[in-house]
């Protein structure tokens, strides 16, 4: 490492071809190794999941939980996983956008810094604590709201009654997840908004735009791909979150209703059933894990595709 700082101490302006120093070479190899390592780990995990999952795909349908084969077993879990994550995103995205814009463009500098720290701190809370908070504080307090929804909007299948007596429903789990993914989305959105070129912003203001119009014309188009990346990161966490959902949600079979107990997510199902599982049951759970792996991979590829597609229209260039 000491050798790599050497070039900086040399007087500038010598048009000589730079020597490859051991530090440069070593560092280059080290980074390359790190890059390759993550791919190997990922491939290793995928290979493990596939190997352990195969018995579940091949097994006699009657042996799988529910007795109707793996796909009948896993689709309600996939549904629950996607719905919980979707509810979380619907709540967290506008909130994160607002917080990020407030920090980057509205709040006084000192306050913005403090607020940024506080939001980042939310990410450091263990999910078990979120789970406890969800069970003991949130669920009893939102129970009335879900009951109201079931009473007044019960004709919509999503709010069909009877509402859960303890309030531990898919909606509650979604709210807990929303709080959990808020810091990720906010942090990324904030950093991206802060990087909006000052010239763009000043140009918009010089043309007579109000601050809101400036944000709409200069900041948001510039930050959109970054915001989408942040949302997708948050989605990744929401899809894979285990403990909080396992603790908060009153799990059960598939139901459209989001305010009664029922439904389950893949990660929570694995966490709840793995400790007492054996034989084909373990394979089934690992196969469910593989499905989650594939879903997350698909979500991320979709995110990259969206970001790439929007590039041309972003207005930033």
């Amino acid at each position: 490492m000491t050798t790599s700082t050497e070039p900086a101490t040399k007087p500038p302006g010598r048009p000589r071809r730079a020597k490859v120093r051991p530090g440069d070479r070593n560092f280059s190899w080290a980074t390359r190794a790190a890059g390759v390592l993550i791919l190997i780990v990922l491939a290793g995990v995928a290979a493990f999941l596939v190997r352990e999952a195969i018995p579940a795909f091949r097994a006699d349908p009657a042996e799988i939980d529910g007795g109707e084969g793996f796909f009948a077993y896993v689709w309600p879990l996939v549904f629950g996983t996607l719905v919980a994550a979707f509810i979380a995103l619907i709540i967290a995205t506008p909130l994160a956008l607002g917080i990020a814009l407030f920090i980057s463009h509205y709040a006084p500098r000192r306050m913005a810094q403090g607020l940024g720290y506080v939001v980042d701190l939310l990410a450091a809370i263990p999910s078990v604590v979120y789970g406890l908070w969800g069970i003991q504080w949130l669920a009893p307090n939102v129970r009335g709201t879900w009951e109201w929804l079931a009473d007044n909007l019960g004709f919509i299948p999503l709010f069909a009654g009877p509402a859960s007596a303890t309030g531990r429903t898919m909606m509650t789990a979604g709210v807990v997840l929303a709080v959990m993914i808020l810091p990720i989305i906010t942090a990324i959105a904030r950093e991206v908004f802060l990087q909006t070129p000052t010239l763009h912003q000043e140009a918009a203001l010089a043309l007579g735009a109000t601050r809101w119009e400036m944000i709409r014309m200069a900041v948001l188009p510039f930050g959109r791909p970054g915001l989408i990346s942040g949302v997708m990161l948050g989605l990744g966490r929401a899809l894979g979150e285990t403990m909080a959902v396992a603790m908060v949600l009153s799990t059960g079979g598939f139901t459209w209703s989001m305010v009664s107990s029922g439904n389950n997510t893949i990660a929570a199902e694995i966490a709840l059933d793995f400790p007492e599982s054996a034989g084909i049951e373990t394979n089934t759970l690992i196969a469910a894990g593989l499905v989650l792996f594939v879903i997350t991979l698909a979500v991320n590829m979709l995110a990259r595709w969206i970001v790439a597609r929007r590039e041309a229209f972003s207005g930033a260039n």
Binding site: L42, A165, L297, E311
Partner: protein, 382 residues
Amino acid sequence: MNFSIVRRRLAPVAVAGAAALVLSACGSDPETDATSDTAGGDGGGETDDSGDGSESSLSGSLSGAGASSQESAVQAWIAGFQQQNPDVTVNYAPEGSGAGREQFTSGAVPFAGSDAALDEKEMAAAEDACGAPAVNLPLYIDPIALPYNLPGVDNLNLSPEVIAGIFNEQITNWNDPAIAQDNPDATLPDMPITPVHRSDESGTTENFVDYLSQAAPDAWPHEVSGDWPTDLSGEAAAQTPGVIQAVDAAEGTIGYASAAAVGDRTTVAVGVGEEFVEYSAEAAAAVVANSPQAEGRAEHDLAIDLARDTTESGNYPIVLISYTIVCTAYSDEQTGNLVTEYVSYVASDEGQQAAAEAAGSAPISDEMQTDVQSALDSIEIG
């Protein structure tokens, strides 16, 4: 320009980050279990040639695996046993009953804990691994109580049919005539019943459901399994504390949980024959003592057919028993001595009392203690 830098920087981060989250999410829990590796009873020190009687002569290490239901009792047993024998190390990996039986029948561990006795196939595999038949010893009795949250009702009598009706969601209101019939003196409110069950797979669920299907077969049509039937809605909660929490959280709830965790909450007196029995350690031990040995078992195998449908007075039929499974022959002298000494401590008054304090279990009856001791005496060592 600037923008593409941002994109390039963020997109891989997004992919890698999300992947890492998923990996850690599905990897962490199982892995911590898997790393608590269990080697068989490999001796750490030399065995003294006389392995009988004098406890201080024991040394070495012993590893078992199995049911997580008896984990806190096992911790107490290990602590007590190691206190008596300072040179001995006992490990127990609470990986689940299935995993414990699997490791035992493959010879990986010299003893296992399991909520179910070995079945015929497993007995055959165990005989291969041990070189002699294995025996199932019911050393952990955990009464399952039914806590309920119903203000103004301090005593609740429920017959097996009514309990099954409630958990099968056929009886849905507390003022149902079927409940009133068992409780002529109570003022039952007009309130919907919210049954609470375990969301994770558990031996408690399996034993409770087994009770329902044996004591009230007409009212409980579902299969016996550690997973709650998915076609019932009800409230679900993770682990025993979750069930207790859910019962506390809402009025009109009723659940089932290990009696140790129930504390001084109001619990159901369960219908047995003509009377209603509150759970107690004695009543739970009584039903185990009065249950016949399971069919087709060898002389010292204490696997029992729990008499869930007992009508005998003073028996509390909703219990979870967790077996300690051992071989009747150990080729390794040290392992054999360690297993017999450890299990005989577990079956002793002292061991059972330690478990009762640590885990709230019901101490086994004197009769059962004698049976266990004669099973242990039949073990051939060396």
